[in-house]
Subunit: 447 residues, 2 copies
């Protein structure tokens, strides 16, 4: 198709990968999907667009970051649509729309692209892939689902070709009760400020709290609470030592103890109670989650979420839920941008079937068909070049084996060469076993 | 998240599936991906947007069907973007943009959504999924790739849980040479009219040809050519019998013979030469393909494509290619809309682990963890209801097994029940073998 030539260029914030890096992305997506399914989550996909008024009801600065969509023809009705900027808003709408046809509690996963017109920077894109799980129920949601989330996150992240990671958990009620007890009644406003701790540091946060009306003592107490962190249940004593009590605080502590007890048992060493975690979004009402890679904490959270009392409502029924969202594009952008992982080859092909002459191409096609019927990905050499050139074609793609039909001059049998070692041995397409480590491209940490 | 309640509604042309139907979609997508990879195609994804001028350069009525995208904030520069309406235009741009970093011939597959603002109707959507493969080379492309495409299409379609299908092939040069030989010089215009044969019938096509300036004889000759169809090489004699000769016609016949010879050998009974196939797009220059489901021909082509001399060009190098595109949404919309296929269950879970009491939930969580570590998807019952209710929860989702921790009162051992047969047997999470046919949801033809 001859389109306009010239003017081909990347668009800032809309990343695209070369085939080798795409294999890395696929591997991460496969691991995520497989793990979500092992935990009994059903897949859904929602359409890419929602009514703009539904998207913009999410407040804050969301509005100006929404991508509006309209027919170029323009003879559309006046409906205004926008591309979704997360998977939670469309999921909430999907739950209400299909409530009568879903079985609750509904465990769903959703891996899709989303779009947000923010300023592109390292780890932040305008088109990006999220992988979400949520459990949503009608009217009430059992608290054990809040304890389940960190186990699933730990299961996914421990299957990635990454180093160590930490799932940080907190409960919004701890801060809420604590703030109320010390006389700070603007809970959400205070949480929003404390949430900036990682970005601006404790002194700036204290200043911001004072600016919002807190006394020096109140600001210091907020920072003391946010400084508590433990991989066991000792966070409870640390909070008690601050000498503050409130029923909501007690409720939050008990809930976080339950989450940590489960985590210590089923994901030991992976989960810490970190009372700094606030998640600036006002709809979280219970446990909140963040996940960081050890040694790369400055990259921020790779998987975040929490519990909300009202994911959605249709007026009659309210749907509480709990969920987390893995920032797939953020993880990959950072790993690939810093060359920390790579794929062993840029094609699925494990074998290149050489072609001796164009007249005998059908013999090579037959070999390829037999290998494929046995689950071995392969391709036939594009040209009957001299073998050295065909081997180089395989080499440039990282294809480990080259197959030579009829190479054995005595028997007329085939031979296969491992082009890394140079070993060439007799082989039959009906019986040759591709070493399992070569069957698919591998994705490995670099260095 | 409490968004606006009220006003949740489907958007015409933007289909969404319930979890069971989504499992059907995933199975089709998995089969496509697996088969493409067995044939050595590398995956890429391109961004969802392209410059509008690139999209609208494709002519015809494309313009008014493009969805334009702009920041709601509006402080963007004047760049105008649109959602891609196919995967060929973005792939052509990707090839030129990355030519220096790709190895040619480049075999790529791409499975993504596309958007087209046309009138929604059965099998046609405004948001839809396409699965494309193309082989693209620099400067020249060997003709054997044109013979390879039908084999791959046949391989994919024979793995679907569908009935019989036919891959129809033709070569544009046959019509081109034939039309020129009988004195019709507007080859593309004539092809466009003949392409409507299925929709409007031979009499209407003849009338349209005459309207475009053809004589009765010329129109009749066009229809005679379009009526030729054979599952073997007899189409050559049938064309010769029309008494027309032209070098381009000979070239086209020889090329189609080569494609059919390969097909007869490696996909016997799956491919027919059908000289009616025109593909109304002016960029095809050689072999063209369509694929129909036997008994559902009126649904139209489910997989189409062809050879183009200039997929892309950067001024210095031209990139010829050949490819096909599977209309995933069309296939699924028709199959699911007519309830011809269904998934055996609406969740990946093969097992529901029952909970005897909330106090003993951890025991159930431990069983689930062990089953998952052995690759068995499962979930823990949401509530410690009476067992009858827990079994009904499994039943409503189609989960075949319910696991009862400590059910054996003598030994304290676990038991597992096949809730379809009612059989309940002692079992250990470390060693129980889930029957392979129950491990994953199956996708089957109905009736």
């Amino acid at each position: 198709m001859s389109g306009p030539s010239g003017r081909v260029m990347p668009i800032s914030g809309f990343p695209e990968y070369l085939p080798g890096d795409r294999i890395v992305e696929q591997r991460f997506l496969d691991v995520i999907r497989e793990t979500f399914e092992l935990h009994g989550f059903s897949s859904i996909e929602t359409r890419s667009i929602e009514p703009v008024e539904r998207l913009s009801a999410q407040g804050e600065d969301a509005d100006k970051e929404i991508y509006a969509v309209s027919r170029l023809g323009g003879d559309d009705d006046d409906a205004r649509w926008g591309l979704h900027f997360d998977l939670t808003v469309p999921f909430a709408r999907y739950v209400v729309e299909n409530a009568g046809r879903l079985v609750f509690p509904f465990r769903r996963y959703q891996i899709q692209k989303a779009w947000r017109g923010e300023r592109p920077q390292e780890g932040r894109y305008r088109e990006f892939t999220q992988a979400d799980i949520d459990v949503v129920d009608a009217d009430t949601l059992s608290p054990h689902f809040e304890a389940e989330m960190p186990l699933i996150v730990a299961d996914v992240f421990s299957r990635f070709p990454l180093g160590d990671f930490v799932v940080q958990v907190n409960n919004r009620k701890i801060a809420e009760g604590f703030y109320l007890a010390i006389g700070l009644t603007d809970v959400v406003g205070t949480l929003r400020i404390v949430d900036k701790l990682d970005k601006v540091g404790p002194e700036k946060v204290a200043a911001m709290l004072r600016e919002a009306g807190a006394t020096d003592e109140q600001a210091a107490a907020c920072l003391a609470l946010a400084g508590i962190r433990s991989a066991d249940l000792s966070f409870v004593d640390a909070v008690r030592a601050l000498g503050v009590s409130h029923p909501t605080l007690d409720e939050g502590l008990a809930a976080l103890v339950a989450v940590m007890e489960t985590a210590m048992r089923y994901a030991p060493g992976r989960v810490v109670a970190d009372l700094r975690i606030a998640r600036g979004l006002d709809y979280y009402t219970g446990t909140v989650y963040e996940t960081t890679l050890v040694g790369y904490e400055s990259w921020g959270s790779m998987c975040s979420g929490g519990r909300y009392d009202a994911l959605a409502s249709d007026g009659r029924t309210t749907y509480p839920g709990v969920g987390v969202s893995i920032g797939v594009s953020r993880i990959l952008g950072l790993l690939l941008g810093n060359r920390l992982v790579r794929a062993s080859r840029s094609t699925p092909s494990a074998v290149l079937v050489a072609v001796t002459s164009e007249e005998s191409r059908t013999r090579s096609v037959a070999v390829a068909g037999t290998l494929r019927s046995r689950g071995i990905a392969c391709e036939v050499a594009p040209r009957a070049d001299r073998f050295g050139k065909q081997i180089r074609y395989a080499e440039r793609r990282g294809i480990p084996y080259v197959w030579f039909p009829g190479a054995d001059e005595m028997t007329g049998g085939d031979e296969v060469k491992d082009i890394r070692s140079g070993d060439q041995v007799p082989a039959s397409a009906e019986s040759w076993e591709c070493p399992p480590e070569d069957l698919y491209p591998t994705v490995d940490r670099v260095g």
